[in-house]
């Protein structure tokens, strides 16, 4: 059964251009950008544009609680009424501007792992930030390459630094294929450590 397979992992930047479709089968818009909560750990929603080649930005946005599912091929919403005027949705301008891209990832023992180039999300009927794609620093032994770093369930974000437990470096992946398992293993290790 397809319903028992794990929810797909997706890079946040790949969501741009993905169609927004109602459960009634109507195309509403395309994803323009992802809006992160100002804390950086969650997704607040999406800004939108009209579908098509010469697409214009829309004045409405899609708040996260209006999303029914995020999949490989579409972002599903119950109907068009879940869209909100962007002004109401993102009153804090910084929510749109202050995302985690380009932030530095530091371990809790002070190692610089690199800068965030993308965010890895786990889709399905919720959308969780499960990792960062970083341009690796010397500390990871693969300087300049892009690697995936798993995140704990909760994450501390302060200013320009994202703090992750140092054990995250044991669960670094090079591609999305094995990354879901790496996230699970990393989180299991953290839970063992705290109990």
């Amino acid at each position: 059964m397809t319903s028992s397979s794990p929810d797909p992992l997706v890079r946040a930047r790949e969501l741009t251009g993905r169609p927004v479709v109602t459960l009634g089968g109507e195309l509403v818009a395309e994803i323009k950008d992802i809006v992160f909560e100002s804390s950086g750990g969650y997704i607040a929603g999406f800004t939108l544009r009209n579908p098509g080649l010469f697409s214009r930005s829309r004045k409405e946005s899609l708040p996260w609680d209006g999303v029914h599912g995020v999949g490989r091929d579409a972002v599903m919403v119950p109907d068009e009424t879940v869209l909100l005027p962007t002004k109401e949705f993102a009153p804090r301008k910084q929510a749109r501007n202050r995302d985690v891209l380009d932030d530095r990832v530091l371990t809790d023992n002070g190692q610089d792992l690199g800068r965030v180039v993308d965010v890895v999300l786990q889709g399905g009927t919720t959308l969780e930030i499960v990792g960062y794609e970083v341009e690796a620093s010397e500390a990871l032994g693969s300087a300049g390459r892009r690697v995936l770093i798993p995140l704990p369930d909760t994450i501390a974000v302060s200013g320009e630094n994202l703090i992750v437990p140092s054990s995250a470096t044991d669960f670094v992946s090079e591609d999305l294929a094995g990354f879901g398992a790496a996230v699970d293993a990393f989180r299991a290790r953290l839970r063992e450590g705290t109990n």
Binding site: V21, T22, L23, G25, E26, G71, D73, A74
Partner: protein, 144 residues
């Protein structure tokens, strides 16, 4: 019976024993998935829709109606869109409620007795009709 087998069926009036139209397409509605209307061609009058409830019999060779008065034009916006062929299920992309595409609908299996849609068929798989939850201009939406 498959849509591909049922298309082009003549619609025959049992009152006059004459052909009054030909089946061009099927308008499927969800909840529960069923054929709600037939879209007709080669019609003499203005009405190009036939409600499933007005179908007397859907046989292997022809569709019968009591009289050609059963053929009618669209009555609301949704029927108008159906008449304009916006909502034809064939060729439409199937999306799960989680946003995964399952391919385009190539054929549909339905029960000619009741009009119930039993199966949506795509190149890669068959999808039980009771998973259908939405049908719009862009896509067919099914439960995951």
């Amino acid at each position: 019976m498959l849509f591909s087998q049922a298309r082009k069926h003549d619609v025959v009036s049992t009152a006059t024993a004459t052909r009054v139209a030909r089946v061009e397409g099927f308008v499927v509605r969800p909840g529960p998935a069923r054929v709600a209307l037939l879209r007709l061609g080669k019609v003499s009058g203005a009405g190009t829709l036939l409600a499933w409830d007005d179908v007397q019999g859907f046989g292997p060779d022809a569709v019968t109606v009591a009289t050609d008065a059963a053929l009618r034009p669209a009555r609301d916006e949704l029927e108008q869109r159906a008449e304009d062929n916006e909502l034809d299920i064939l060729g439409k992309l199937v999306l799960t409620e989680r946003g995964t595409a399952l391919g385009a609908v190539t054929d549909v299996d339905f029960d000619p007795e009741t009009g119930a849609v039993t199966m949506l068929i795509t190149k890669a798989e068959t999808i039980a009709g009771d998973r259908l939850i939405g049908l719009g201009r862009y896509a067919v939406v099914v439960l995951s």
